[in-house]
């Protein structure tokens, strides 16, 4: 039987799901995620859970409450991409990850954080393996109300070809980008540098949207129904505050407070509503590029490893464009390719060039 790992944002009945948070330490879900059902039906064996940073919003798993880090395993891993962390991990570890088009893989049974942009994707050693697993995951699920019709979901793996790629270096000079460019060109794919324009500001909008949604989604973790409850409290208010204060890590607290601030009635129009408008502007910027190009190549991160001083709200500049637009993104050979909606299969096919598969 083929083995598969799930990251700890995906709920399983048999194994605990912590979402990387002390809040959900040992939490047992009474149901399986839709992707777990699909994988099991397709004959995969769930080999275990891969640790994630708290609610999967950090750089690359460093905020896991137990300090567990992602170690590369032999089998593919299904991972929820909330804020680009799987893409950064793939880029820095020579792996392939696909964040599919929004709405083609069910989010039913994933710990919700930033619902308007997060997607269940696949990490593996090769693009072809990613494609194999992804083909099991795609398809409509009536329990997720944000999905495309079944045929539309499946069309994402259909035959399309990437012939022309726009390169948005976003100010990063990297050997990977140069190498990827020359390899694509060597395979007859045209690559042209294009100014990123408003796409540079995708993370400014995404930080607002993601934190607001996170703030709202993690407000259900209050110490009452399940999960962590503080030992000491004198009244209901202290139960809430102590439980949440003791269980959430600093990055999540920061995100909660920022998200709450942008939604406050004073800031809603100037920050949250503004971010929603900019979201449309960015979608339109991509549409404009896609009139001429089939995909966009951009960095997935700015460096090969992180230190404590790196800030995810700055570093997510490279992953936010695909998160904020719902477009498919593949990281391979240390670079990122963002494609038109439903071009997931084509992106993986072209990525095989970057990982030198079949050579």
């Amino acid at each position: 039987m083929k083995k598969i790992l799930l990251d700890d944002m995906i709920l399983t009945k048999e194994l605990p799901t912590s979402a990387g948070s002390k809040m959900l330490d040992g939490y047992m879900s009474p149901f399986n995620a839709a992707v777990v059902e699909r994988l099991t039906e397709a004959g995969y064996e769930i080999a275990g859970k891969a640790p994630v940073g708290e609610f999967a919003i950090d750089l690359s798993g460093e905020t896991n409450f137990e300090g567990k880090t992602v170690s590369s395993e032999d089998c593919a891993t299904v991972m929820l991409d909330v804020n680009g962390s799987p893409r950064r991990i793939a880029a820095q570890n020579g792996l392939v990850y696909i964040k599919p088009t929004y709405g083609i893989v069910s989010r039913f049974g994933t710990v919700a954080v930033a619902c308007s942009g997060e997607c269940v994707g696949v990490m593996a050693k090769s693009a072809s393996e990613c494609k194999e697993v992804l083909s099991v995951l795609v398809g409509n699920d009536e329990r997720d109300g944000t999905m495309h019709a079944d045929g539309v979901c499946k069309s994402a793996l259909g035959i399309k070809k990437v012939k022309k790629v726009a390169l948005l270096d976003m100010g990063v000079k990297s050997a990977e980008l140069d190498l990827a460019r020359s390899e694509l060109e060597a395979n007859g794919i045209e690559v042209a540098s294009v100014d990123a324009g408003v796409i540079e500001s995708a993370n400014a909008a995404w930080n607002i949207l993601m934190c607001a949604e996170l703030c709202n989604n993690v407000s259900r973790f209050d110490g009452i129904k399940y999960g962590y409850r503080a030992k000491n409290y004198k009244n209901l208010d202290e139960l809430y505050t102590n439980s949440r204060t003791e269980a959430f890590g600093e990055l999540v607290k920061t995100a909660i407070l920022y998200g709450s601030d942008v939604l406050s009635s004073n800031n809603y129009m100037s920050k949250y509503d503004k971010a929603m408008r900019v979201r449309r502007v960015i979608v339109e910027a991509f549409t404009e590029i896609f009139k001429e190009y089939d995909a966009v190549m951009l960095p997935a991160c700015s460096k090969t490893s992180y230190t404590a001083s790196d800030d995810v709200f700055v570093e997510n500049k490279y992953t936010a464009p695909a998160s904020v637009t719902g477009l498919p993104a593949v990281v391979a050979g240390g670079v990122q390719l963002v494609g038109k909606a439903f071009s997931d299969g084509a992106l993986l096919d072209v990525s095989a060039i970057l990982t030198k598969e079949g050579k």
Binding site: S29, F108, G145, C215, K225, M276
Partner: protein
């Protein structure tokens, strides 16, 4: 100085659906604690909301009944606050584009007719129920009611007295029960009302400080709360007894007073934002027309028709039009038997009696009107006697029967052989000399004894009027 009261209402109504608004749990009232619950409505991670179509149907229906404009694109938003009865710490409601806006409801009071403007109707999920346990001094949480679909009907501040408020609520109840949006039962909490009230000097065009009162569980409690709150405001304005502040107050019906609810520094900023997990609901022309086509005649239009066209009394028409189920049953019974007065009589006496005994409300009537019409026809055609027809009616509540077939099986068909009936009557009259003598000497009661014996011998299969006349004729003939 004279003062006037300015009142606006927020009325919450639980919709009559089988399942909840965003999950498939039962939406029924009651049940054992936390039995109608799933991971979605108890706030566990992983479930996503999927909108119940019937909720949108009923939201549109309510909007149309209250003459609202229906927003053809309607969306859901999230409202955040922490409270143990709110398992996700947010309520999914409609803030930016509610299903219906700008309506009117016409009420009638002792001062005549008045239009009350409706600001909006929005769809949302209900909260759970909290029970306070005295033994442990803790609060117990039951999520059965969580996510039961509600509509909130927000009026403009057009009401100026308790009498108008009561008329408005009764009008809403009548319209929404008629349209089968809800049973609107205040005692079960399926209709609840928050009162926004302020007081100002008569003639002033500036609104006074407004307070919102919650927790009134009956129409009479609402009347008491309005009287109390109005007096409190006037007292504060006239005598400076206290400074009025804009706040939410809880009505305590036992103490007969309102109390400021625990002041939350943060109350009021609910951080609404559009729900990313619920796609916009687009009401196309087909859907719109379908709902429009199911709207019932307004109760007063029906009543006028019952009186004008069908010749019912004002009294009967009023009683019938208090319940949509009664009207539906009446109309199909009438269509079958062609006799409006008979149909109304059967419904308002015999049928209501049975419902009463079963402790059911008229709205819970499920009797098939066509079958009732058939039964009425059997009686008016003289085929089944009235007493036997009542027995058949009782059976109709227990099982699905065809009245004619059932009458036959039970031997309830009136004999058309008048000769045989007369022979039976003659036999009994002759055998009961004493009653005959008594009757002839003017004791009307004696006739009843003979009547009873005859009816028994005939197994009730005889029209009482005919039988009575036949007995008199036989007595006179001997």
């Amino acid at each position: 100085m004279r003062y006037e009261t300015v009142i606006g209402l927020e009325v919450h109504i639980e919709m009559a659906t089988q399942s909840k608004i965003f999950c498939s749990c039962s939406a029924k009232f009651g049940g054992e604690q936390n039995d109608h619950v799933c991971p979605a409505c108890c706030g566990m991670p992983g479930m996503l909301p999927v909108v119940n179509k019937k909720v949108v149907d009923l939201g549109m229906t309510a909007g149309m009944m209250l003459n609202c404009h229906i927003n053809r694109v309607t969306t859901f938003d999230k409202k955040s606050y922490y409270y143990p009865d709110l398992p996700c710490s947010y309520q999914t409601t409609q803030w930016f584009s509610p299903v219906a806006v700008n309506g009117t409801v016409t009420i009638e009071t002792s001062k005549g007719k008045k239009d009350i403007r409706i600001k909006q109707i929005h769809m949302e999920e209900d909260a759970g129920k909290l029970v306070h346990d005295e033994w442990t001094n803790t609060t117990l949480v039951d999520f059965n009611r969580t996510s039961v679909p509600l509509i909130e009907i927000v009026s403009q501040p057009d009401l100026s007295s308790a009498e108008e408020v009561v008329a408005y609520l009764e009008r809403l109840r009548s319209l929404l029960r008629f349209a089968k949006v809800s049973e609107c039962r205040m005692e079960q909490g399926s209709m609840r009302c928050d009162v926004n009230l302020s007081v100002r000097p008569e003639g002033s065009d500036k609104l006074g400080v407004r307070t919102e009162m919650k927790n009134m569980n009956s129409i009479s409690a609402i009347e008491r709360a309005i009287a109390y709150e109005t007096a409190r405001h006037i007292d504060a304005l006239e005598n400076g007894t206290e400074e009025l502040v804009q706040e939410t107050r809880r009505w305590d019906d036992i103490k007969g007073k309102s109390f400021a609810m625990r002041n939350k520094e943060t109350a009021g900023d609910y951080r609404y934002f559009p729900d990313p997990n619920v796609m916009p609901i687009v009401i196309d022309d087909e859907w719109f027309a379908k709902i429009k086509g199911t709207l019932p005649e307004f109760p007063e239009v029906k009543k006028a028709r019952y009186i004008g066209e069908l010749g019912l009394s004002d009294y009967d028409a009023t009683l019938l039009t208090e319940s949509r189920a009664l009207c539906d049953c009446f109309e199909s019974a009438y269509a079958e038997c062609g006799q409006a007065k008979e149909a109304a009589n059967w419904l308002l006496s015999d049928v209501l009696n049975i419902l009463n005994k079963k402790q059911m409300t008229p709205d819970q009537l499920t009797l098939d009107g066509k079958t009732l019409g058939k039964l009425i026809k059997l009686v008016t055609d003289g085929k089944v006697s009235r007493p036997n027809a009542k027995k058949i009616l009782a059976e109709m509540f227990e099982s699905e029967i065809d009245p004619a077939k059932y009458a036959e099986e039970q031997g309830y068909i009136v004999s058309s052989d008048t000769g045989a009936i007369e022979a039976t009557v003659r036999e009994i009259v002759i055998a009961d000399e004493r009653s005959v003598t008594d009757y002839k000497s003017g004791k009307e009661k004696a006739l009843m004894a003979i009547f009873g014996k005859c009816m028994k011998a005939l197994k009730g299969n005889c029209d009482p009027q005919t039988l009575r006349q036949m007995i008199i004729d036989v007595i006179n003939s001997i």
